[in-house]
């Protein structure tokens, strides 16, 4: 199934670019945003894994990943302060 390899390659490239922004990001909010995108890409990879291997074990992981992204970004956004 060549489509799986293509989609996996696209997702890897996207994760690399998002991690580049997470490392470079000028502020902590940029980093949180980039890590949120990384979590979305991880969710996409979980779905891709379910489709390729024809199982449904990752659905609970998908929900867990979105919960972690939500809690993480809300917490960081809540406690970010103005350092100027």
């Amino acid at each position: 199934m060549i489509v799986a390899y293509v989609a996996g390659g696209i997702l890897s490239l996207a994760a690399t670019l998002a991690l580049y922004r997470a490392v470079r990001g000028p502020s902590i909010l940029d980093r949180v945003l980039a890590l949120d995108v990384v979590l979305a890409i991880i969710g996409a990879a979980l779905v891709l894994n379910m489709i390729v291997n024809r199982h449904l074990d990752n659905l609970i992981l998908l929900v867990t990943v979105s919960v972690i992204g939500f809690i993480g970004s809300v917490t960081v956004a809540r406690f970010v302060t103005d350092r100027k």
Binding site: A14, A44, D82
Partner: protein
């Protein structure tokens, strides 16, 4: 056969949405425009991939679970984006020269006029001072 084509198209477009978000994260100049790019794969990309999963498995039992996953993401992702955008506005992580319209600016200015002296007066005089303020 048709199913495979549909699954392939949905998978590739979902992955391309993630790639578009990542390219936007790298290329865009400030926090708000990066947020505009970053929220695409969280909702639409997940929708496309879950549709691919549903088409691949061809079972109606699966659909409520997938709808649950998607609705959960749909509920949480705007809230976190709102929090991040609000924190970014408050801590001035945005480039004012790129904004065409800042609707929050008027609100902030009005709140400063309304509550700025009022808070000061409340500290000094309390309610009596506030009511006497309307009469010249």
């Amino acid at each position: 056969m048709v199913n495979d084509v549909v699954v392939s198209v949905l998978l590739i477009s979902g992955a391309l949405l993630s790639l578009a978000a990542a390219v936007g994260l790298v290329r865009f100049p400030d926090l708000l425009s990066r947020m505009h790019a970053a929220t695409k794969p969280q909702v639409l990309g997940l929708l496309l991939l879950l549709l691919a999963l549903a088409v691949e498995f061809e079972s109606w039992v699966l659909v409520p679970l997938l709808v649950l996953c998607w609705v959960f993401q749909l509920l949480t992702s705007p809230v976190s984006a709102h929090m991040v955008g609000r924190a970014g506005y408050r801590t001035r992580h945005l480039r004012r020269d790129l904004l065409t319209l800042d609707e929050l600016d008027d609100v902030v200015a009005r709140a400063a006029v309304d509550h700025g002296p009022g808070a000061h007066r409340q500290r000094n005089g309390g309610h009596a001072g506030q009511e006497a303020d309307g009469v010249p």
